[in-house]
Symmetry: C2
Subunit: 357 residues, 2 copies
């Protein structure tokens, strides 16, 4: 493997000194880029793109050609694991992801296999290997998965949801069935992420998109507990380097201390809390990733630079900050505003770091 | 006016002793009730129902016929004010509310009138008067409005939104235009709520459904500031009694202390924080309303009673708790579960209060 030329991301996730604050952007390979839309067009459906390692590699690298980003992230979908469990993932225009066979009963849960990552999910591992080769050490490659709770909501609802009727019905009506599903998912996610590391992922992120829809107690019992189970089962060193793990619960800013206790290396933050307050709360236990409102990118270049200035000052001159948006970039953002953001982070963060890292 | 027979709600909002914790339910007059669906069918469209004082009164009273609730809440929509400003509200099947003429520019904002509540919004005041008469002192009547920021998002986006592209574009691109809109809305909302009080509303609630989509700084500047402006302009005593004001920012649990500083009497809480922690944070400054996850009502009767037990114990033996869900009741909830909830709150809260209140 080629030596890593830019290790800012990995160093920052481990709270080691860097020369500038690293930045990557959730959903950086996506619909806001015309070159992404062109590749997507060629691929066919969204899942055809995910399942084609060459094209997944192509779109993963596209944002790196435009912007001075400090990481690549595997292009894939969080629903690959439930799909590999046999639920029949499809996408309905304007409706988002759907499953042909939702999971609702103890019998449904019992029947679910824990997929072999190199078999049913081999196309993801092929994409990781292809991307890693193509990166040739330019920046590190992040792998990822949805959290067990987040995957469970899609599997139980049969798709996206606003009210989580069936998942909350299980949670408050048949919690044992939900626990059985979450335990199976924790095992599947652990195997999936470890296979990504074996294939070349150099850091990992767990996306708990829907953990913030729970009460503090239910979050602990049904989401955090299973993320902890995943974190405890992960390969934490590979190729002679630590493999840092980022845990991100959207809307979970009230529970940072508990998230930091899972054994992860870093926490993702949305934009509803000040990153300086977050740092004061978690101290030196974890690094922090975030936390600009993606909506700032609809604003002026000056507003983007102002927000970058504020967030960097708020975090202060400490090790352990990875700049990112607080959620995925929206599809109607002008790519030029992303350039303003990335350049501002590198330029404006330098004074917070010692020369040479 | 008939004397008020059940003043638990008003007393609890003012942190005065009561015999049992009062309960009402956000969207208690709604689609989960077959009798509501029947009236709605007769009325025609949703807005036809809102605009018909007799039918609005009928649906407002329906949940009180079924359950031992401690308050009625005016049946109306938060978008009546923007509609009265001439934006052309309509409802598209499956799409939610839409405006024919969204507000996007300084010129659009300048052209907006501040509606006269007894003229363009006279149908709402007629509904308040009709309901108040029909209640005959049984329980108090709550009036309400959307917050300036929440109304602005619908007006700028032209309807519901997930990404708030246009509102965030204004916020981070042309903040002066947004401030002009919010100031106008604050004046319109103040006049609208004061007219509801004059017509008979005995307590008020401001719904800031979308404040939780903002950064802490933007929340202060674009949402909280204008709610404070509204609160400062409200009639706080009428018919010889105080008129308590409840402020509710969905997803705003991180900012309770700042909300308590607006001069309101009570804060609404969603279910992502423990009500005991919230009470410790705001101390004796405000009462608290909440905070059961509406999803619990998909669960078993035992789960409902368990959650009621937990929330009551968490709040403890203090004055100033109004039980409610943390957001509106969902449409597919079994009304029998609402009965379980209401009865559980009255039964299980008695030991926390002195006999006789």
């Amino acid at each position: 493997m080629a030596a890593l030329q830019n290790d800012r991301l990995l160093r920052a996730l481990l709270r080691q000194p860097v020369d500038r604050t690293p930045i990557w952007i959730m959903r950086q390979a996506g619909r806001y880029l015309p070159e992404y839309r062109a590749t997507r067009e060629r691929a066919g459906s969204f899942m055809d793109l995910c399942r084609n390692p060459e094209l997944a590699c192509e779109v993963t690298l596209q944002p790196l050609e435009r912007f001075e980003l400090d990481a690549a992230i595997l292009f894939s979908d969080i629903l690959t694991v439930p799909d590999a469990m046999g639920l029949g993932l499809y996408f309905e225009a304007g409706e988002g992801p759907r499953f042909e066979r939702p999971v609702r009963t103890a019998r449904d849960v019992d029947a679910l296999p824990v997929p072999d990552p190199e078999d049913e999910l081999g196309y993801v591992m092929d994409a990781v290997r292809t991307i890693r080769r193509a990166l040739a050490g330019r920046v590190p490659l992040l792998g990822f998965s949805g959290s067990p709770w987040t995957l469970a909501t899609y599997m139980v609802e049969g798709g996206s949801s606003k009210e989580f009727a069936h998942s909350k019905g299980l949670l408050y009506g048949q919690p044992a069935v939900l626990h059985a599903l979450l335990d199976k998912l924790a095992r599947a996610v652990t195997a999936y992420l470890n296979a990504q590391v074996a294939a070349g992922a150099q850091a990992l992120m767990i996306f708990d998109t829907w953990g913030g829809t729970l009460t503090p107690a239910a979050y602990g019992e049904f989401s955090l507990r299973y993320m902890r189970q995943v974190v405890e089962g992960l390969t934490r060193e590979h190729e002679g380097r630590p493999v840092p793990v980022i845990l991100f619960t959207k809307g979970g800013g009230q529970w940072l201390e508990r998230q930091a206790d899972t054994g992860c290396d870093a926490l993702g933050l949305d934009w509803t809390l000040d990153i300086g307050d977050a740092r004061a709360r978690v101290g030196e236990r974890v690094a922090l990733q975030g936390n600009m409102d993606p909506g700032v990118l609809y604003g002026s270049a000056q507003a983007i630079r102002n927000e970058v200035t504020r967030i960097l000052a708020d975090f202060g001159p400490y090790p352990g900050h990875v700049f990112n948006l607080g959620h995925g970039i929206h599809q109607h953002i002008d790519p030029e505003n992303v350039r303003v953001l990335v350049d501002a982070v590198h330029e404006l963060s330098a004074p917070y770091h010692s020369p040479g890292g």
